[in-house]
Symmetry: C2
Subunit: 465 residues, 2 copies
Amino acid sequence: MRLVLGLCKVAAFTFLIFTTSAALAQNVILIIGDGMDDHQITMARNYLHGAKGLLTLDTLPVRAAVQVVTLDHNDPSKVVYVADSANSATAIATGQVTSRGRISTSADTDSDLKPITVDLKNAGFAVGIVTTASVTDATPAVFMANVAQRFCENPDMMVQAKIGGNWYADCEDDLIANGGSGSISEQIAGSTIDVVLGGGSKQFAPMAEGADLTVLEQAQAEGYVVVNSVQALEQTVSSSDERVLGLFSPSTMPVRWQATGGVAAEQPEPSLLNQVHEYLGDVTLPAPVKCEVNPTYGDTPPLATMAQAAIAQLAKRSNKGFFLMVESASIDKQSHARRPCGQIGELQQLDETLQVALEFATTNPETLILVTADHGQAAQIIPNNSLFNGYGVPVYTPGRLQRLVTPEGAILAMNYATNEFQAEEHTGVNIPLLANEQGQGLVPSFLLQSDIYGIIKNYLLPETP
Amino acid sequence: MRLVLGLCKVAAFTFLIFTTSAALAQNVILIIGDGMDDHQITMARNYLHGAKGLLTLDTLPVRAAVQVVTLDHNDPSKVVYVADSANSATAIATGQVTSRGRISTSADTDSDLKPITVDLKNAGFAVGIVTTASVTDATPAVFMANVAQRFCENPDMMVQAKIGGNWYADCEDDLIANGGSGSISEQIAGSTIDVVLGGGSKQFAPMAEGADLTVLEQAQAEGYVVVNSVQALEQTVSSSDERVLGLFSPSTMPVRWQATGGVAAEQPEPSLLNQVHEYLGDVTLPAPVKCEVNPTYGDTPPLATMAQAAIAQLAKRSNKGFFLMVESASIDKQSHARRPCGQIGELQQLDETLQVALEFATTNPETLILVTADHGQAAQIIPNNSLFNGYGVPVYTPGRLQRLVTPEGAILAMNYATNEFQAEEHTGVNIPLLANEQGQGLVPSFLLQSDIYGIIKNYLLPETP
């Protein structure tokens, strides 16, 4: 066995990455930007690098469009045109389309759908799941668990557990007492996944069903080394080849950036006269802001640091190679919350993670890197000066607006207008899929989301039916 | 010279397409879907072919993302993040970035920028421009004219000509009397372009500046055969190899489809109780509709028919090859007007045109086909059933909504919410570029819009500096 020594540096930490011979090990690094459609990418490019600049993901040589297919919850013979992260990530993880809210289970019939990670582990690959969300959140969960409903994240959320309004989590059939596999956190604790890193420690605090241990204690009993800080993560990866469960925040990890003073997008304020008639009076738009460090970010591990630690550990745990899914979750969550700076800082984290993956691939060329989204999001770039200003009447969005002063000195106007509720909707736009050179010939220019499963399988398990 | 005989059939008409030897003739067919970002494409795919279906453009093997760059009108050292068709098409036609509203002229300094058509004509290529808009509209105009402002479409619109509100067209420096080249229609009449087909006859009706002829009479005097019906177009292309100016409607050509009864997207109507508090009462959404034939469409020539006639005539007019730009204009115009069926029928026209181009390329393999947009548009696909329905409170868009019953029996909810004015805004999203096999190796996965100019130039004029 030939040892290849790669030295990757990102953020504050450096990990030595030992891999087996490039001729033997084959790896897939799948990076999912949750909600990362072309609007969210363009917004980040404009802010981070300027309108003529390049994100790292812009340098990937292979590009495709992905059509997201979602089944109707009540009548799975019909489609619906807007997904959530649960059904869209299930399509990627299992190759099967399902209805919103489902974690690798089928629409209506609630059958378990086998995630690709099962076959990969059986074939001897190491598997890692990394996210800035709770590790029990929909996108990571579909790779590690089967459950009827995404909100059944821990043993206390299994039966008539209130989420809000008239909305309840209900996964009674998944109770261990009823022959099921338990909640998402319990299934992670009992899984064979090698590395699980992200937020969501609160989902591991309850007592496991029918046991005298918390879910976290159960995970430790099953062989996971549990870490809660980047220092502990670094130490574990440097000194051990054990399985690692890293939980760095109670739920979603804090995002890197916020707008000046923490303000979200706001509704323009029309004058009284304008409220009488749309062609009269004027409108006050929210004042332009900049992106600044989110004060709650603190010593949160950067996504790229977590990904780098995962790569280092996975490379130690299998000579055959590994599959690593890395999710940048808050592109979506901050769009729901109408916070473009949160989205941009999170997309920057994704782009740094891609840089880590590309550096690894330079010394491990049989590494397929895929970057995609799961569904579209609400944020739109609209003109700061309306196309219709020439008419001399107030023209403004009926939604929420945030105007960012970009480092190149222009104003980037972001619109959030899919609803008036406390959180925006997803959208049904097709989404990008990018790949490094290893994707040439494997990734067609247009595909269904469930085809991504086949691309990964064909790369790592070409002889499996 | 080897004659290649191709027989193309589309819509009601059949043209014999004679071309010179494939070894000699090189062609570029550039198809621009105005406003055709991924949302508009996904909407059309869902309606026309179902969520799991394929548009013809989905079958193209090369895909890229295009970043649109626009300069600030007042300070061209700065960018703005949302384009109009004038500056974005100027980038494609000239390789130069400029400010909104400019027709192949530079931001601030108002210098003429040379469209690629000039070099192509000088090198012996035939050139055709086809559109469903007025041929004087921004996208076609930039390939045929240089003028300070897009609304200077005819001799009567050159000096302080009112458009609406406080908005005036003003191109005084472009007056022939002031040493300029006149209005857009006058420049087309005096151009060397071989085939010009579309709407806009009213722009050719005024008297040409300083002449005793209308602009149309001037075009005829310059050698254009003028046709006004698809029958006359067919007859001319069948019997003559003259230059053709086809004007099939007074301004924009009628679109193929409308929603039931011609209704546009409408605002949801909250109940009185919901107006008191957003968590109370309920909301009435606009009733679902279908797409139906637009009664004013009549015998309007389909875009594919115009494109096919143009290809036939261009192939006769040069042994060297041709450049044809075909614009599907009303994807944009019908999004401004909040009319998804108009958009979908127009995108169907683009897809049929692509089919014609692909058929031509089967017998003329040295034909590079490019399909792209100029900028993003407002329409978004949002959930018909909100992601937050579980809360049991009314959740609806603050913008305009149209819900289409698709042929596969689901409801496609389209949201228009960039402003509350009579027309929606463009958006700043990066846009797709697709190409046939000839584009492999020529089209990178990510590019600036102005790079499209270089791709066309490198293909047809590789030795020109």
